[in-house]
Symmetry: C2
């Protein structure tokens, strides 16, 4: 007679339980995941034969699918698209910062996430980024997003602060504390705009950066098709 | 009769063992650390009464001390100093990427690290950054450094790549693979320069950014004193 809990086991239930474990403890093992679901480890493998690595890729898909935009909107340049891409991705990661180190520790193979990176790569390519510059631009956006997601998961007091008026850091912390809203989110916005500004400028050395029609790149980009 | 291994126990030995454990397994517990050192958990607490949190702060100090510069060199502006600060910090973190999530999960209280942040805050303040802008600038540099350290610890193949010539991401990966040197390091350099460019520009809206004597900030900054 099959155990009812095993019969109800599904990939979505496994991923939800794994996400809860990582949010709470920072990691998971297959035996601990099985225990949380009150099933045997072997019944877990029936649904995720690739084991822990497959579960981590499943978590990546769970968080990234729908978070990264699939293509440009009419008139949107690479800069606006990259901003929208980074904001969506960061929102997904900042909600589950403890998942980040698990994701960066293995190769991205989740199809929905790969499609999200491909969409960004196509928009950059269509706007004239050379191949290697393109990969570095994608990587630095990735670094800022993931660093900011860790920052979102940091304690409210990032630095131990004795409120020393002679400390420039203390004064800056005090000034920031009185501002409403999410400190980490504000820092991310400032960093993202600065980074996109800098990337835009690095493409045109000697030329003052200025907004152009249809986005900073000034050219209409093709909407990427499905992957 | 005291056990010889306990007699040899010291804070530096404990930190070295903890760093090895984190580099290898991604985390540590006090009992596992004690087992690695062949001592009792209680003898560990004799040297680090604050337990795991104190050990993590010790790891922060071990990595950051000397990595973050203490003050400006003659004629160095905020931009050059911030670049040097971020490069030193990133090199320290990229050598031990699995330590990063442990560090971001708790408040910075290690004195050497706090002094490193204070040095950056003083240089930004001396060059006219307003308090809140200053904290955001420090935070975004932090995010880029930590995200890049995770990137440095990622697998050689960041994305599963079938070498599809129709994929913009695949073509960019292929172009980057033939370049010599450290891909993650090159991305970091491009991101850091772009971010510093963008931060410099955000301070002077409407004014084209240009290099000035003594650094991008154009003004000589005071060398911060000891913290």
């Amino acid at each position: 007679m099959p155990r009812p809990t095993t019969a109800l086991l599904s990939r979505p239930r496994i991923l939800t339980a794994a996400l809860e474990l990582v949010d709470t403890t920072g990691t998971f093992t297959m035996p601990r995941l099985a225990a949380r679901l009150s099933v045997s480890t072997s019944s877990l493998y029936h649904h995720v034969p690739g084991g822990r690595e497959e579960v981590v890729e499943g978590l990546r898909g769970l968080l990234c699918e729908g978070a990264m935009p699939a293509g440009t909107e009419p008139g949107e340049g690479w800069r606006e698209f990259a901003g929208r891409w980074a904001r969506g991705y960061r929102a997904a990661m900042a909600a589950h910062p403890r998942v980040v180190p698990l994701l960066t520790a293995q190769t991205v193979s989740d199809p929905a996430t790969l499609a999200g990176y491909e969409a960004l790569a196509r928009v950059l390519h269509a706007d004239g980024f050379a191949d290697e510059d393109l990969l570095h631009a994608v990587t630095v956006l990735d670094c800022l997003v993931l660093g900011s997601a860790l920052d979102a998961g940091a304690p409210v007091d990032v630095w131990a602060d004795a409120g020393d008026p002679a400390s420039a850091l203390s004064r800056a912390i005090a000034a920031t504390r009185v501002q409403p809203g999410d400190r980490s989110q504000r820092s991310f916005e400032i960093g993202l705009e600065a980074l996109l500004d800098g990337l835009a400028r690095s493409r045109a050395p000697g030329r003052p950066a200025r907004p152009a029609r249809g986005g900073a790149g000034g050219r209409r980009v093709r909407t990427p098709g499905p992957p």
